[in-house]
């Protein structure tokens, strides 16, 4: 089943939420439908909607049972499905994520190079040569699932008890950024000084679903310099709008 000819289906998810499924694959085409639906549903401005939560292939709508009924939500979902149009967006929000791929900040680099049979230069080139889309945010607050890499890695069999936040990981054909210190099983190939999640910041999340990330290589010295600037508040993460080839 591909994203192209899969008719959207409503699936049950408890009495206060409806799950709308747009496909069964992790592909830009399915993700596009997810984004289009979110835009169309938001535009209806339904009273009583608590949260709209997109994922790879589906969107969950949580609602307040005291304000709106299940039938009314279902009707609104069906209306949004008929009104959704392909996102005509030509440009996307891109966040630059300066990343150091060296030394202790890249503890699994050697292992990944062995598994992928790439040179370090080739791997860094693959990781930095194009922007990656945020397919989903989850696992921990702010953790972006970015795709896709042109190879597939198995999960590490034993999770690390503590992965520092800012670590850049690889798993499957995806790459991600650890948003808090947490146990983890992705292969760590670098680290960014950026805090992609900070609950105390006015805007706690640097990334939203559908945004893009462009990794740029920095060396150890630049990593610590940037980290210091960030702590002192002298560095603002770089963002721009970019046309992203699909």
């Amino acid at each position: 089943m591909t994203g192209e000819n899969f008719a959207p289906v409503l699936r049950p998810a408890g009495e206060n939420s409806v799950l709308v499924v747009f496909g069964t694959t992790i592909t830009p085409a399915v993700k596009e439908k997810v984004s289009s639906f979110v835009t169309a549903f938001r535009a209806l401005a339904i009273k009583g909607v608590l949260e709209i939560v997109p994922s790879y292939c589906s969107v969950m709508i949580y609602f307040k049972m005291r304000t709106i009924s299940y039938a009314q939500i279902k009707a609104a979902v069906e209306k949004a499905l008929t009104e959704m149009v392909p996102v005509a967006q030509q440009t996307y929000q891109v966040l630059e994520v300066p990343t150091c791929y060296d030394g202790v900040l890249a503890p699994d680099m050697e292992a990944v190079l062995r598994l992928t049979k790439l040179s370090k230069k080739e791997l860094i080139a693959l990781h930095t040569s194009k922007p990656f889309m945020v397919y989903m945010i989850g696992f921990t607050p702010g953790f972006p699932y970015l795709g896709t890499m042109p190879f597939h890695l198995p999960r590490q069999t034993t999770p690390r008890p503590l992965v520092p936040s800012g670590s850049i990981g690889l798993a499957g054909n995806q790459t991600g950024i650890y948003s808090i210190d947490t146990p983890g099983e992705w292969w760590l190939i670098g680290r960014t000084p950026l805090a992609i999640f900070d609950a105390q910041r006015k805007d706690p999340f640097l990334l939203s679903p559908g945004d893009y990330v462009r990794f740029t290589p920095i060396d150890l010295e630049e990593y610590f310099e940037l980290k210091n600037l960030l702590i002192q508040g002298y560095y603002t993460p770089r963002r721009w709008q970019e046309k992203v080839p699909s």
Binding site: P12, S17, P54, Y62, S208
Partner: protein, 315 residues
């Protein structure tokens, strides 16, 4: 000001949850037994959104440096103030210097403590709920420890006097727990045999004190062959990973998960989920979303009536 002398097994500051950020991977957190927590807040004249203490398995000991009107709901436990026994599901005054002692729970599993004025901890992303895995919200993002100081807020909605809740308002803690559920998002992926096993078996709650998920001992459901790409998953979901073992999703769960869901526990029975004790027997019974919503609205109506009666001094 309150000094924590003994914090209990897992005591955290919670409110009704942190909404609006699940799209960014932020779990809702919040109280599990929202009925008990709301009733406690209503008893002391707070908004139902005020922060309370959620205490798991045992309550702990607290010294009140100032007078406070307090209500404790949820599970049943020995409650004393300066050695004098207090009724659960009631509000009572603690004098300055008073020692509130909560014993181990004797029935149920989670206690809720509300204070007139609410607990004064900072709002983090719109909520006072503690989310332990990221260490945020509540008191420094963690569970209470001996020596902690808690401050009482001044957000009082209505003046209240010590009072006992009408017994009819307490929800029954009847075992074995029968949890009403609605169909899960992948219910149609399960074989008829699996569904029969799910609805006709007795499951046992495994020991767990985290607020992420419960594991159940009982018949394994092994008919799922398909892999599920991670999808948004709500509180009360009954998940079945490849092992066939059942999991129930709790308030600190990840916002999207890749496990087939056979059912969702209805909101009106979250209190049972909160009050079931490790080792307790659980059964599942299917209902529909409209019945589930009606049962939830009935609980909300009962709480609303309690608030009105208290506001009108007619209890």
């Amino acid at each position: 000001m309150i000094t924590v002398i003994r914090p209990g097994t897992l005591t955290t500051v919670q409110d009704l949850g942190r909404f609006g950020y699940q799209a960014w991977g932020m779990p809702v957190s919040g109280v599990l037994d929202f009925y008990a927590a709301k009733a406690a807040n209503i008893l002391v004249g707070n908004s139902t959104k005020a922060a309370v203490l959620e205490m798991t398995a045992e309550g702990g000991t607290y010294r009140f440096e100032e007078e406070a009107l307090v209500a404790i709901t949820g599970a049943t436990a020995d409650i004393t103030v300066n050695g004098i026994s207090q009724a659960p599901w009631s509000s009572f005054l603690i004098p300055p210097g008073g020692i509130l002692r909560l014993g181990a729970v004797t029935q149920g599993y989670r206690l809720y403590l509300a204070l007139q004025g609410g607990l004064d901890v900072p709002l983090v992303m719109g909520s006072r709920s503690t989310y332990l895995p990221a260490g945020l919200g509540g008191l420094e993002g963690r569970s209470l420890q001996a020596g902690d100081i808690l401050f009482i807020g001044d957000n009082i909605r209505a003046r209240r006097h010590p009072l006992r809740l009408p017994a009819a308002l307490q929800l029954p803690l009847e075992k074995p727990w029968q949890l009403l559920v609605t169909s899960g998002s992948q219910e149609d992926w399960f074989s008829a045999k699996d569904k029969k096993a799910f609805y006709n078996s007795i499951y046992t709650l495994e020991p767990e004190t985290s607020r992420m998920s419960y594991r159940l001992t009982g018949p394994l459901l092994t008919s799922i062959q398909q892999e599920l790409i991670s999808e948004p998953t709500g509180l009360g979901a009954v998940e079945v990973p490849a092992s066939g073992k059942l999991f129930i999703v709790l308030p600190d769960h990840g916002t999207s998960r890749g496990f087939a869901k056979i059912a969702y526990i209805i909101h009106a029975h979250f209190y049972k989920l909160a009050q079931a004790t490790p080792g307790d027997k659980i059964t599942f019974k299917l209902t529909d979303v409209d019945t589930a919503a009606d049962l939830y609205r009935a609980q909300e109506a009962a709480l609303h009536k309690l608030k009105e009666d208290l506001d009108n001094n007619s209890l």
